[in-house]
C-alpha cells in the first residue's frame, strides 16, 4: 500500500511541470483528483487494510491528495483567465461582480428634468432662503394683509416677522431686487404648508417657479414657452388647455391642463373623471409686484409660472401617496433611477 502511494506521489510530481493548458490541468484532475480518480481508488483500497495499518496509510494518502490539489490549483491559476474562454468548465453564467449603482431621489430627479428643459430655453437657475419674511412671501407678491388669498396657503410662522416660505415665488422678488430686466430664471426649492399630512398633501413639498420679465413680454409668449415645456416633458402629442384662475401675483392668471395621459382624456380615477390633469399655474406678473421691486409696470412686463414637483412626479410615476416620497424606504427609492 505504502509503495503504491509513494509511486503515485512520484508520478504526480513528475507531471507537475507539464501542465501547460486547460486540457492538461483537467486531464490531471480527472486522473488523480476526481471522485473515481486514482487517489480516491487508493482511499477505497485502504479500507481493506488491517485496522492497525490504516492510520499510517491514511496520513500518507492525505498528504498525497493535498499535494495533488496544490499542483492542480497552481496550474489552473498560472493558465489563468486567458485560457478560460476556451474552457467549457468555467461557468460564465455565474453572477458578475456588480458595481453599486446610486439611485437619485424622484423629487430631485424631477427637478433636474424640468431644469434641463428650461435651461435649454435660456433660463438661469436662482435659489433663495426657505425661512422668509412676510414681505417677500406675501406683501411684495400682492397678497394684501387679511385677504382671503392668504387662506390658500396655510403658513408656518417662526415669529411675527419670519415664516417658512409657502412657495418659491419670493425668490423672484429677491432676484428682481438685485438685477435689472431682462430676467429669465427658474427657481427650484422646498416649500411648506401647514396642512394635515395625508396621501394627497404634506407639510413640505417642492416647486419650480419661473419668471421672464423684459419689455414687451406677452401672454402669447407665456403660452408658447409653457406649451414647449409640456411637449418636451410629457410628449409632443399632448393636448392642452389654459383656463383662467387666480393668483395674487399674476394678472391675468391661468392654470394649464393637459389631457390625462393615463386614460387619454376619457376620464379615470387619477383625473377625477375630467379627462384633464392640472400641471401648473401661471400668469402675467401683476403690476403691483413690479412696483414692489421698483420697476415701472408701463415699461416692463413679464410672465411667471409654478410647477408642483411632487404632484408632477407622482402622476408621472404612478405613486399615489405623497408620504412615500419622504419615507426613504429604499425598496421604493431604488425603483427610480
Amino acid at each position: 500500500m505504502q509503495d503504491a502511494i509513494t509511486q503515485l506521489l512520484d508520478e504526480v510530481r513528475a507531471r507537475a511541470g507539464r501542465l501547460a493548458t486547460r486540457d492538461d490541468a483537467e486531464d490531471f484532475r480527472i486522473q488523480y483528483l476526481a471522485r473515481k480518480g486514482r487517489i480516491a481508488t487508493l482511499f477505497e483500497d485502504m479500507k481493506a487494510l488491517p485496522p492497525a495499518e490504516r492510520p499510517v496509510a491514511g496520513k500518507l494518502l492525505n498528504a498525497l491528495r493535498v499535494e495533488a490539489e496544490g499542483i492542480h490549483a497552481a496550474a489552473v491559476a498560472s493558465i489563468g483567465i486567458a485560457g478560460a474562454a476556451h474552457a467549457a468548465h468555467l461557468d460564465l453564467t455565474l453572477p458578475g461582480r456588480a458595481m453599486p449603482v446610486g439611485h437619485q431621489h424622484i423629487v430631485t430627479k424631477t427637478i433636474d428634468e424640468i431644469k434641463t428643459i428650461f435651461k435649454a430655453m435660456g433660463f438661469s437657475v436662482a435659489t433663495g432662503p426657505e425661512i422668509e419674511t412676510d414681505w417677500y412671501n406675501f406683501q411684495a407678491l400682492n397678497f394684501p394683509p387679511d385677504h382671503p388669498a392668504r387662506d390658500m396657503q396655510d403658513t408656518f410662522f417662526i415669529d411675527d416677522m419670519r415664516l417658512l416660505r409657502t412657495h418659491t415665488t419670493p425668490v423672484q422678488i429677491r432676484v428682481m431686487e438685485q438685477r435689472t430686466p431682462p430676467i429669465r430664471i427658474i427657481m427650484p426649492g422646498r416649500v411648506f404648508r401647514n396642512e394635515v399630512i395625508s396621501a394627497r398633501s404634506h407639510v413640505q413639498f417642492h416647486q419650480v417657479d419661473g419668471l421672464f420679465c423684459d419689455a414687451h413680454v406677452t401672454f402669447a409668449d407665456l403660452k408658447g414657452t409653457l406649451v414647449a415645456f409640456a411637449k418636451r416633458y410629457y410628449g409632443s402629442a399632448l393636448k392642452y388647455r389654459f383656463r383662467p384662475s387666480f393668483f395674487p401675483f399674476t394678472e391675468p392668471s391661468a392654470e394649464m391642463d393637459i389631457t390625462c395621459y393615463l386614460c387619454a382624456g376619457k376620464g379615470c380615477r387619477v383625473c377625477k373623471q375630467s379627462g384633464w390633469l392640472e400641471i401648473l399655474g401661471c400668469g402675467m406678473v401683476d403690476p403691483n409686484v413690479f412696483r414692489a421691486v421698483g420697476y415701472d409696470p408701463d415699461a416692463v412686463s413679464g410672465y411667471a409660472f409654478g410647477i408642483g414637483i411632487e404632484r408632477t412626479a407622482m402622476l408621472r410615476h404612478g405613486v399615489d401617496d405623497i408620504r412615500l416620497l419622504f419615507e426613504n424606504d429604499l425598496r421604493v427609492n431604488r425603483q427610480f433611477i
Partner: protein, 666 residues
C-alpha cells in the same frame, strides 16, 4: 358652492348639456368640482300602469301584477298591501339600478313565479321615509314617462370652486352673468315690486361704526304666518344643499343664493322696538349666537344692537336672544354691507365660518342691499303673508365710482393678440361695466359688485377670460436669449452627481423634526415654528444626520440590511449671521452614511462589512470627483460629542459621525 341648473335658467337661457356647461364654466375660470345629474338616480324607473293584480297562489301577502311600462308589460310579484289594479305606480324596469337599495333589478322567481321589475315605495325612490306601501301616482300620470320627469326631479347640480377674488360669483346671478357674457346672451335679473310696502312706522337705524359697516338697510314686516315652505322654495334651497326651515329663513337663504346678499331676520317682539344701532364690540364683550355658543368678541367685531342689547354679530351670526321661532308674527329684516377685512378677521378669531361671513369677507355689493331687501319682502309676503310697514337705509359715505381707463394698445401688448374695441366693449358691458368708448381708450366704470376690478390690468384679464385663453395664439417660434446664464445650484448638482456615481442612494427627508433631533449636543440653538401640524415635529433640523439614522433604522427593520445613503438639504440654527437675517442661519449640508455589507458572500469571495476605511475612502473619492482631494486632511477629534474623528477641508472641520454610529449595526 352648489348651484342648481334649474335655478340658473331663471336668469339666462342654457339649452346646453351639463357636459357642455362644464366646458364653458371651466373656460371662464370657475372650477367645476362636480356635476350631479339628479335624474340619473331614477334611470330605468318609469310611470307604470297596474293592469291586473291577483293573489299569489303560494303566499298570502304577495300579489301577482301585470304592469304596463309603456314599452310592454311585465309580470311582477309585489308584497305591498296597497297595490291594486288600475293604479299608476313608479315602476323599476329590469336592469334599473336601485340607488337606495344598492342592487340592480333582475328577473327572478319568487315562490315559483318569475318576477321582472319592481313597484317602488317612496322610500325606495329616496323621496321620503314612507315605506308603508307602494307610492301611488295620480291617474293622469302618463304611462311610460320617466319617473324623474313626472316628479320634476330633472335638475343638475353643479359644485363650483370659486377663487377668493370672485366674491361676486357666490350666487346664481353671479354665475349666470359670466355665462351670459361668454355665450353673448341676455341676463335677466328680476325687478322687485315691493307692492305691499306701506310706510306706517319709522325704522331707526344708527351706524356708529361706519368703517366696519358702511351700509345698513332694514325693513319691518308685520302679521306674517310662519310655516313650511312651498315646494318650489323647499326644492330650491335643498337643491343647493341647505336645510329647509321655514318660509322666512328659506327666503333669506334663497335671496342670498340668488344675488349673493346675506340677510338676517330678527323676531321683532324680541327687540326693544323697531330700532337698530351698529357699533364696535367693547373690549372683552361677550355674546351668545343662535347656535347656543357664547363668544368673547375681538375688537374687529361689529355688533348689531337694539336700544338695550346686542342682537347679532354683524356679518357672522344672529343672536339666540332674537331668533325667529314658531309663533313669530313680526320681523325686522336686515340687509347690510360689512367691511370684508373686518369680517374675515372676526370670523377667524372666533373660529366661525358661516355662509354670511364667507360672502361678506369676499366683499358683497354695497349697492345691492336695498334690491335684496325688496326682493325678500316680496317673497316673504308671497309665502308668509303680512305687510311691510317701514324700511330704512343708512349709507353715510357711498363708495365713489371706480372709473378705469383701458388702453387698447396696452391690452394688445400684454396679451399678444389684438382684440378689437367692439368685442372688448361688449365683454365689459356684459360683465356689468359702464363703458364710454374713446379712440384708443375704453373708459370703464366698474360695477359695484366687482370690488376686484380696480386697475387697467384687472379689466384686461376680464376681457381675456371671457374672450377665451384658447383664442390667444401659441407661437411656434420664439426668440432665444443671449443673456448670461447662471445656476445657483451648480455645485449642489455636481455634488449630487458625484455621490450617485459612487453608488450612493439619495434620500430626501423632512425639514421639520422632533425637538430632540434638532437639539444636538454642541450644536447651536434651534429654530422652531409657532404652529406645528403635529406637536412632536416643531423644529427645523440643525443636521441631516438624525433623519438619516432614522431612515437607516427603518430600512434595516424592513430587511434592507446594506445601504449607502446621502442627502443634500438645508439646515437651520438660531444664531446671528448676515445682516439681513439677524436671528438665524440657513445653509446647505451634505450628509452620508453607510451600513451593512460592503460585499456580500458570493462565489468569488466572502462577505465583508463596511468599516471606517470605506467611509474614509468615500470621502476621498467624492473629493476627487469634485477635484478637491488635495485639500483634505483627516484627524481624530476628541472634542466632538458625536464623533471621534473628523476630516478637514480647507480650515473647516467636518465630523465623521456616521461611521461610528453605524458600527453597532454592521
Amino acid at each position: 358652492m352648489k348651484l342648481s341648473l334649474h335655478w340658473l335658467k331663471r336668469y339666462v337661457d342654457l339649452p346646453e348639456s351639463p357636459e357642455e356647461l362644464d366646458r364653458i364654466v371651466t373656460g371662464t375660470g370657475l372650477e367645476m368640482e362636480g356635476i350631479e345629474d339628479r335624474k340619473a338616480r331614477f334611470d330605468g324607473i318609469v310611470v307604470g300602469h297596474v293592469v291586473t293584480c291577483e293573489k299569489h297562489p303560494k303566499a298570502d301577502k304577495l300579489s301577482i301584477c301585470t304592469v304596463d311600462s309603456g314599452s310592454g308589460t311585465a309580470t311582477v310579484i309585489c308584497g305591498a298591501p296597497n297595490v291594486a289594479a288600475g293604479q299608476k305606480v313608479p315602476f323599476a324596469t329590469e336592469g334599473a339600478w336601485m340607488h337606495t337599495l344598492g342592487f340592480r333589478i333582475e328577473k327572478k322567481a319568487i315562490r315559483g313565479i318569475e318576477s321582472s321589475g319592481m313597484i317602488c315605495s317612496a322610500k325606495e325612490l329616496g323621496l321620503n321615509d314612507d315605506h308603508s306601501g307602494i307610492m301611488v301616482l295620480p291617474d293622469h300620470a302618463q304611462t311610460g314617462t320617466p319617473i324623474a320627469e313626472h316628479l320634476g326631479m330633472t335638475d343638475v347640480i353643479f359644485d363650483i370652486g370659486i377663487t377668493p377674488n370672485r366674491g361676486d360669483a357666490l350666487s346664481h346671478v353671479g354665475i349666470a352673468r359670466d355665462l351670459a357674457a361668454v355665450l353673448s346672451r341676455e341676463l335677466r335679473i328680476p325687478e322687485p315690486l315691493s307692492a305691499a310696502t306701506v310706510t306706517r312706522e319709522h325704522v331707526r337705524v344708527t351706524i356708529k361704526a361706519p368703517t366696519l359697516c358702511p351700509r345698513y338697510s332694514a325693513a319691518i314686516i308685520r302679521g306674517i304666518t310662519l310655516g313650511a315652505s312651498p315646494a318650489w322654495l323647499k326644492n330650491a334651497v335643498e337643491s343647493v344643499g341647505m336645510r329647509s326651515i321655514n318660509t322666512v329663513v328659506d327666503i333669506t337663504n334663497f335671496v342670498m343664493m340668488e344675488i349673493g346678499q346675506p340677510m338676517h331676520a330678527f323676531d321683532l317682539s324680541a327687540l326693544a322696538g323697531p330700532s337698530i344701532t351698529v357699533r364696535d364690540a367693547r373690549p372683552g364683550e361677550g355674546f351668545v349666537t343662535l347656535d347656543g355658543k357664547s363668544h368673547v368678541l375681538p375688537p374687529s367685531a361689529v355688533l348689531i344692537c337694539d336700544d338695550e342689547k346686542p342682537v347679532a354679530i354683524g356679518g357672522i351670526m344672529g343672536g339666540a336672544n332674537s331668533e325667529i321661532r314658531a309663533g313669530t308674527t313680526d320681523i325686522l329684516l336686515e340687509s347690510a354691507y360689512f367691511n370684508p377685512s373686518s369680517i374675515r378677521k372676526t370670523a377667524k378669531l372666533l373660529g366661525v365660518s358661516t355662509e354670511s361671513s364667507y360672502r361678506f369677507e369676499r366683499a358683497t355689493d354695497p349697492e345691492r342691499t336695498m334690491w335684496a331687501l325688496r326682493r325678500a319682502i316680496d317673497l316673504i309676503i308671497e309665502t308668509s303673508g303680512g305687510l311691510c310697514t317701514g324700511t330704512a337705509d343708512v349709507y353715510p359715505h357711498p363708495d365713489p365710482a371706480r372709473v378705469i381707463d383701458l388702453r387698447l394698445r396696452t391690452m394688445d401688448s400684454l396679451l399678444g393678440i389684438s382684440i378689437d374695441r367692439v368685442r372688448a366693449t361688449e365683454i365689459l358691458r356684459a360683465l356689468g361695466c359702464t363703458v364710454i368708448e374713446g379712440v384708443d381708450v375704453l373708459s370703464c366704470t366698474a360695477p359695484t359688485f366687482r370690488s376686484d376690478l380696480e386697475r387697467e390690468v384687472d379689466l384686461i384679464e376680464e376681457v381675456a377670460r371671457i374672450h377665451g385663453y384658447d383664442n390667444i395664439p401659441t407661437p411656434a417660434r420664439m426668440e432665444i436669449s443671449t443673456e448670461e446664464q447662471y445656476d445657483d445650484e451648480a455645485f449642489l448638482s455636481e455634488l449630487r452627481s458625484a455621490a450617485l456615481s459612487l453608488g450612493m442612494d439619495e434620500m430626501v427627508s423632512s425639514s421639520l423634526v422632533q425637538h430632540a433631533h434638532a437639539q444636538l449636543p454642541g450644536e447651536h440653538a434651534v429654530v422652531s415654528v409657532l404652529n406645528p401640524v403635529s406637536a412632536d415635529r416643531p423644529s427645523l433640523r440643525t443636521s441631516l444626520l438624525p433623519s438619516m439614522l432614522e431612515a437607516a433604522d427603518r430600512n434595516i427593520r424592513v430587511g434592507v440590511q446594506s445601504m449607502r445613503l446621502f442627502e443634500i438639504g438645508s439646515i437651520f440654527s438660531a444664531q446671528p449671521s448676515e445682516l439681513e437675517n439677524p436671528k438665524h442661519h440657513e445653509g446647505f449640508q451634505f450628509a452620508f452614511a453607510i451600513t451593512g455589507l460592503a460585499q456580500t458572500r458570493e462565489w468569488f469571495g466572502e462577505s465583508r462589512p463596511y468599516d471606517f476605511f470605506d467611509l474614509k475612502g468615500f470621502v476621498h473619492s467624492l473629493l476627487e470627483k469634485l477635484r478637491m482631494e488635495t485639500r483634505v486632511r483627516f484627524s481624530s477629534d476628541a472634542k466632538n460629542a458625536l464623533s471621534k474623528y473628523s476630516w478637514r477641508l480647507k480650515q473647516r472641520a467636518v465630523p465623521a459621525v456616521a461611521s461610528w454610529k453605524f458600527q453597532d449595526t454592521c
